[in-house]
């Protein structure tokens, strides 16, 4: 399973990012979310959303094996084992693997909790089997 996004439906409201930070850290703070919205305004007037594809590249390079896979195929960060070495960050092809030492003393990424999908009012986000793109 993985998270999919349809940029054309995104209205840039950021509800997904607040829901994400609440799931990962129990905090209201979209700067600590695992998905990114890049507004492209005034032209061409679209929101470019970056989401984790659960490709596993981050887990493959993690020296402490802090990035683990759960039963639905999601790679998640075991906060207790992350040593902030930053090996994973440059590996992420979607740029949604995060370490920001000012904000948290662990790396973080999408763990496929689905809260972003639940709050997205325009159904721009959905979770499906990999390869199955249609919503």
């Amino acid at each position: 399973m993985r998270l999919y996004v349809d940029n054309s439906k995104c209205s840039g409201c950021n509800a997904c990012r607040v829901a994400c930070s609440l799931n990962l850290f129990g905090e209201n703070n979209p700067k600590k979310a695992a998905l990114v919205i890049e507004p492209q305004f005034p032209a061409p007037g679209v929101y470019n959303v970056k989401v984790c594809t659960q490709c596993g590249d981050c887990a493959a390079v993690c020296p402490t094996e802090a990035i683990k896979q759960d039963e639905q195929g999601a790679y998640y960060v075991d906060f207790a084992e992350c040593n902030l070495c930053e090996a994973c960050v440059p590996e992420c092809p979607e740029e949604v693997m995060f370490i920001r030492s000012k904000l948290a003393d662990t790396a973080w990424k999408c763990d496929l909790c689905g809260d972003c999908v639940a709050v997205c009012g325009t159904s721009a986000l959905w979770i499906a089997e990999k390869e199955a793109v249609a919503a």
Binding site: S8, K9, S11, G12, C13, N14, A15, V18, A19, S21, L22, F25, G26, E27, N28, N29, P30, K31, K32, E38, P39, F41, P42, A43, P44, G45, V46, Y47, K102, L103, D115, A118, V119, C120, G121, T122, S123
Partner: protein, 529 residues
């Protein structure tokens, strides 16, 4: 403090100092936030008789307790001040992401005091708060300045900026944010301009504390689910505020040719579905909104991009000027945004000028050669520019319709459509009587956000028992509910959303069943006004 950023930021522009003070818990309890905070500080700190554009006036920017949380509708930011347009109180509401970002920087309110000796912008990045020189930005258009900040600082910075109109103290100058969101009414932009503040940029990385995390997340999720499941919100989300155009046109509440009629023979070209089909490219939501009413448009005819137009811009820059081309309306909207003047007041005052011209009160000699007939698109564009720059004929219109008509005389005061000096927003009230009552009793003149929005205002098709309840208590209850809504810096659209979730029917104004009156024109109406 749970639910709040916790700090009030005071910016003394006269001596260039910034100080933070804790948000008083008793004020938070009694006044909630948003408009409530604005009024609290305004009444307490601005002396009677203060010049709206002088050093004694203050500009108070406030977020509310749900801003930045996982609760729908918390995207509004309140800008309160003593208004240069009316000399009374103004409280402009701006959507977008500014209010949430303020709270992530730990701020509930920003109070701008005094007058800066030179153009500055206020820079806020968490606890790093500075007044910086803005001499090179002075005179620049709003979109260019916002782009410049975002390129320099990053997309996560939120920018509020005034245009040339605000710099030139046009009493209905607005403040721009997020490429198309405005604190529009009352002249808050002129107050910011008088203080020599070109822009405010804010970025925050703090978390907002809440008292009961589990209960809050549960309630938040339930609200999002309710909004997503609501049939009532589907049309609202697709067409945004433009859904109102057809209703107003049908019942005779669409301001046409300076409010001389309530429906427009070519109004169909301005209806929401036409606009959606013709120019809208994406929905653009405020922070955390599950039913984004903001529409972002690609205007091929004029090769431009603009957010909107919203209903009131269509009403006043479209039908009120006799213009039936949605692309021309969108372009007029863009010009106003870029120059930093309010589309509602500008559309109203240009409509008045056009009626004066058609009645022979103005000739081409007065208008600087402009043929100000209703429907003249190019003349409208030229006037918008002249108003913002206070040039030639534009200088007169830049005074606002009350002052301009007083100066001109010759009976033009009779068709200057305003209350207490504020130009009426886009409802011809003969056939929107609840709106008329609201305009008359609202805390600050004829503006949409000042009155209590309710099913009775629009006569929505909602469950009968629900409507009865609303009607029984009329304006008082709706005003109270709306005031609470604005104090929480919550969106009135969300107020409607709550209403819509109470009904199984789709959100749709119901013209035939409710409004007895038909179309009317000023000449046909008994009062003649």
């Amino acid at each position: 403090m749970n639910g709040y950023g916790g700090r009030i930021l005071r910016v003394n522009l006269t001596n260039g100092t910034v100080t933070k003070e804790p948000t008083p818990p008793d004020v938070a309890r009694d006044f909630i936030g948003g408009r409530g905070f604005g009024i609290y500080f305004l009444l307490k700190e601005v002396p009677k008789g203060a010049d709206p554009l002088g050093p004694e006036n203050k500009l108070i920017i406030s977020s509310g307790p749900i801003s930045g949380l996982m609760i729908p509708g918390g995207g509004k930011c309140d800008w309160t001040t003593k208004a240069p347009l009316t000399g009374g109180y103004a409280s402009a509401s701006m959507g977008g992401h500014f209010t949430a970002e303020m709270r992530y920087a730990g701020l509930d309110s920003i109070v701008l005091e005094g007058i800066s000796p030179k153009p500055v912008y206020l820079f806020i990045d968490d606890d790093k708060i500075e007044l910086r020189d803005a001499s090179d930005l002075w005179g620049k258009a709003t979109f260019a300045v916002e782009r410049q900040f975002k390129e320099k600082l990053g997309e996560e910075f939120q920018v509020a900026v005034i245009g040339v109109g605000g710099e030139n103290l046009v009493p209905y100058a607005c403040i721009n944010h997020d490429y198309g969101r405005q604190a529009g009414r009352g002249g808050v932009g002129a107050v910011m301009g008088s203080k020599k503040v070109k822009a405010i940029v804010v970025h925050g990385t703090k978390s907002i504390p809440v008292a009961d995390m589990d209960a809050y997340r549960k309630a938040g999720m339930a609200l999002y689910k309710a909004c997503k499941d609501s049939e009532g919100l589907k049309d609202w989300t697709r067409y945004g505020t433009t859904i109102v155009v057809s209703w107003c046109d049908e019942v005779g509440a669409l301001p046409t040719r300076n409010f001389s009629a309530g429906s427009f023979e070519d109004g169909k070209n301005l209806y929401g579905p036409v606009m959606r089909e013709k120019i809208v490219i994406t929905d653009k939501g405020c922070f955390g909104c599950p039913s984004p009413c903001g529409k972002y448009s690609r205007n091929k005819k004029y090769n431009s991009y603009v957010e909107g137009p919203e209903y009131e811009t269509i009403g006043l820059m479209g039908s009120n000027l006799g213009i039936d081309d949605i692309e021309a309306v969108a372009q007029a909207n863009l010009l106003c945004d870029d120059l930093g003047i309010d589309t509602i007041s500008a559309g109203n005052v240009i409509g008045w000028a056009m009626e004066c011209y058609e009645k022979g009160i103005f000739t081409k000699k007065d208008t600087g050669g402009l043929d100000l007939k209703f429907g003249n698109v190019e003349a409208t564009f030229t006037l918008i520019d002249k108003i913002a720059h206070r040039e030639g004929f534009g200088a007169l219109l830049a005074e606002g319709v009350k002052r301009a008509s007083k100066k001109v005389g010759k009976g033009s005061e009779k068709f200057a459509i305003h209350v207490k000096g504020m130009e009426q927003s886009a409802y011809a009230t003969h056939n929107a009587t609840a709106m008329l009552l609201a305009y008359m009793t609202a805390t600050w003149a004829r503006t949409t956000t000042a009155r209590g929005q309710s099913p009775t205002t629009y006569r929505l098709a909602v469950r009968k028992s629900f409507l009865k309840k609303w009607r029984a208590s009329s304006g008082c209850r709706t005003s109270a509910r709306c005031s609470t809504c604005w104090a929480a810096a919550a969106c009135s659209g969300w107020n409607w959303a709550l209403t819509a979730t109470c009904t199984s029917r789709r959100w749709r104004p119901s013209p035939a069943s409710t409004v007895p009156g038909k179309t009317w024109t000023r000449s046909a109406s008994a009062s003649g006004t």
